[in-house]
């Protein structure tokens, strides 16, 4: 090989060509569509999810503002106005939520109910010890009967006269707070744990997965009961209970994502160019999982709310006087046959909330990953 065959190129040897030439390619029309914009366009088409999102927004706003503007406090007791049925201005003219209650009395005692009597529904005789007692089934205005004619408890009151409206929204606030906080922390732990486990693999992964197996092996119920016994009931200990095992699902999903993407060429290319582990994990691999993370977090909120109300229902949850939806349901259960409104409203709110979150999650999943549609 002679020397003149190898010649070092300098800057003068190279020149830009075509820089001043006209490009005859067609120009792009419209704006580029990013990941989130793309997802939003698909999400908008799903009517059920949009409605669900609006319902969630409504419930969240009510939970924040309704207790602030309510005329009564959540601990305020009106002891003489125990268990009043719902009464809402305007609606009462239509005959619903008018504070009425149907009771059965002896006909001779009708005089006691003269002022509050609204309607006599049925007359019948009741045979008791061979005596025929004339009975009446009448509809009375419970508010006037109890001397609360000027009050409007929109959702009624409980057995010690606390306003259900304000207690319900305050309970929703606490349920949502527990749901959101626990899911947020679970996501953080799950993402970090899953990333490390999935990215490094090998021995690190093996040890980390064994730890998960041990923690996940203890039944949730047993663990939460022990934990509440240990920590005492309260919002903080509740969030901690939900964190104990809640992050495992998220970390598994993240780990699977890392196993899928870490051998891709673009990751290799970036590593060759000297990218650090941290950059590879957080800049290059993790963003692939943003869709599934959001979807899974959305599904985790209703299950956290469910766990909270389940434990509260068993008497392990939030302590009185602080309400949560589960506490209200448990309190209402005792009056189910006589005063169903105490169960009805909390049941309605929790069912609506969970339904909305599930539908919203379905919509998000379809929007982020159209391949999963309808599964």
């Amino acid at each position: 090989m002679s020397e003149n065959m190898t010649r070092r190129l300098t800057a003068e040897d190279t020149a830009f060509v075509q820089t001043d030439d006209k490009i005859y390619d067609q120009k792009f029309e419209g704006k580029p569509i990013g990941f989130f914009r793309d997802a939003w366009m698909r999400f908008k088409q799903n009517k059920a999810s949009v409605v669900a999102a609006i319902i969630i927004l409504f419930i969240v706003l009510m939970a924040i503002f309704a207790p602030m503007f309510a005329p009564y406090g959540y601990r305020e007791q009106h002891t003489s106005f125990g268990i009043l049925p719902p009464r809402i201005p305007e609606l009462e003219k239509l005959g619903i939520c008018d504070g009425s209650k149907i009771i059965e009395i002896q006909a001779s005692k009708l005089g006691e109910y003269e002022e509050c009597l609204m309607e006599v529904l049925e007359e019948y005789t009741w045979v008791y010890r061979n005596k025929e007692i004339p009975m009446l089934r009448i509809k009375i205005n419970q508010y006037i009967y109890k001397g609360a004619g000027d009050y409007y408890f929109w959702f009624g009151t409980d057995n010690i006269g606390r306003d259900l409206w304000v207690r319900l929204w305050r309970g929703t606030r606490i349920s949502l707070l527990i749901g959101f906080c626990s899911v947020l922390i679970n996501c953080l732990i799950g993402v970090v744990y899953g990333s490390i486990s999935g990215y490094y693999g090998g021995r690190v992964d093996m040890i980390m997965q064994r730890i998960i197996e041990i923690i996940g092996g203890v039944p949730f119920l047993v663990m939460s009961i022990l934990f509440v016994m240990f920590m005492g009931a309260g919002v903080t200990s509740f969030i901690l209970v939900l964190i104990l095992t809640g992050w495992i699902g998220m970390s598994r999903m993240i780990r699977a994502q890392f196993y899928r993407y870490k051998d891709y060429e673009y990751v290799l290319a970036s590593r060759t160019m000297g990218a650090k582990d941290r950059t590879l994990i957080f800049r290059h691999i993790l963003p692939n999982a943003i869709g599934p993370i959001i979807t899974q977090a959305t599904f985790a909120v209703p299950s956290a709310i469910f766990s909270e109300s389940f434990l509260s229902y068993l008497g392990l949850g939030i302590q009185a006087p602080e309400p949560s939806i589960g506490v209200l349901l448990a309190e209402g259960q005792g009056f189910l046959t006589t005063d169903p409104h105490l169960t009805l409203f909390p049941a309605l709110v929790i069912s609506l909330l969970m339904l909305a979150f599930n539908l919203f999650g379905n919509g998000l999943r379809d929007a982020f990953d159209p391949r999963m549609r309808g599964q």
Binding site: L226, Y259, F306, G315, L329, Q333, A347, S351, L355, G374
Partner: protein, 318 residues
């Protein structure tokens, strides 16, 4: 395989040991006096001696563990005074078990049938109706559903008794009739879970290539579906059905409270609220045992149902 099972059982024993140890110490932290505040001093001293409460905590723990290892779970303190915990639990288990088994008998076939129907008729009216039902079932908590059933079917319409009929003999017709509502309430969520899995799995199996091969070999669509697609889609169901037993069991705690059923669930809530030390620990132990066993059964059944999955190889597991 044998080595793997032994390893898993040892891990299980260790977990159980940790659970009872933690519960032993955790339950002491509940505020309130176990022995009742009004009792006279002599009686209190006698009771403290009987339940070993007069010794230092560590010594109590050693005695407790020794007894536990010889299957003596101690005596109930408050809820059923001086009765052995084992007997109390053994008395409550049948009712809870019957309830759970009935619930599973309803849940599994219904769920599978709905899932199959939805997958075969994908994107038709049937599918949409079933999917709506699934979302609804998943969303409404079992205790809300139980209250609704109780109010409308039992109270308003009077078709069923409001509470469980305890006067009727065990498993008699009248008692079974009063069990219908609690069983329905328990089955509600499980049906949705199974339907969802079954639908996804079967749909995936139906669109796979071995189905095409089976059709190419000359099988009818029905034959191919029954012999190939269905069998393959049953495998992942193991993963759902066995843990379901545990979730039904914990769900039954609330349902038992609502329908006034004296089963394991209400025993648990009762024992915690009276801080009945040994009874609570024993019940937590029973629940953990059932849960851990079900997880083990799932893992083992994988290898049996689907030979492609090897257990214990370490490297082949994802």
């Amino acid at each position: 395989m044998a080595k793997y099972i032994v390893k898993r059982i040892l891990a299980m024993v260790l977990t159980l040991f940790i659970i009872i140890s933690i519960s032993f110490f955790a339950i002491r932290l509940i505020p309130g006096d176990v022995l009742g505040e009004g009792a006279n001093p002599e009686l209190r001293a006698a009771m403290r001696a009987r339940y070993h409460l007069d010794k230092p905590l560590i010594e109590q723990y050693v005695i407790f563990i020794k007894n536990f290892l010889s299957f003596d779970f101690g005596e109930s303190i408050n809820l059923y005074p001086r009765r052995p915990v084992f007997d109390v639990i053994a008395e409550k288990v049948p009712l809870t078990l019957v309830l759970n088994i009935f619930s599973l008998i309803i849940t599994i076939p219904t769920g599978i049938a709905c899932g199959i129907a939805a997958a075969l008729k994908k994107n038709t009216l049937t599918d949409h109706a079933i999917s709506t039902m699934v979302v609804f079932n998943v969303s409404v908590p079992s205790f809300v559903f139980a209250s609704l059933l109780q109010y409308f079917l039992a109270y308003k319409l009077g078709w069923f008794p409001i509470l469980l009929d305890l006067k009727a003999p065990f498993m008699s017709g009248a008692q079974l009739w009063s069990m219908v509502l609690p069983v329905l309430a328990l089955s509600f969520g499980g049906i949705a879970t199974i339907t969802r899995y079954m639908r996804a799995e079967l749909f995936e199996a139906l669109s796979s290539e071995y189905m095409l091969l089976a059709r190419a070999k000359g099988l009818t669509q029905l034959q191919a579906t029954v012999r190939h697609a269905l069998r393959n889609s049953f495998i992942p169901l193991c993963n759902v059905i066995v843990p379901m037993f545990m979730s039904v069991l914990s769900g039954s705690m609330v349902v038992e409270t609502i329908f006034n059923i004296p089963g394991l669930g209400s025993l648990m809530t009762g024992s915690i609220s009276t801080s009945d030390y040994y009874l609570t620990i024993a019940i937590l132990f029973v629940y953990s045992l059932i849960n851990l066993t079900s997880v083990l059964v799932v893992d083992l059944s994988y290898g049996i149902v689907d030979p492609r999955i090897r257990i214990g190889g370490g490297k082949t597991r994802e």
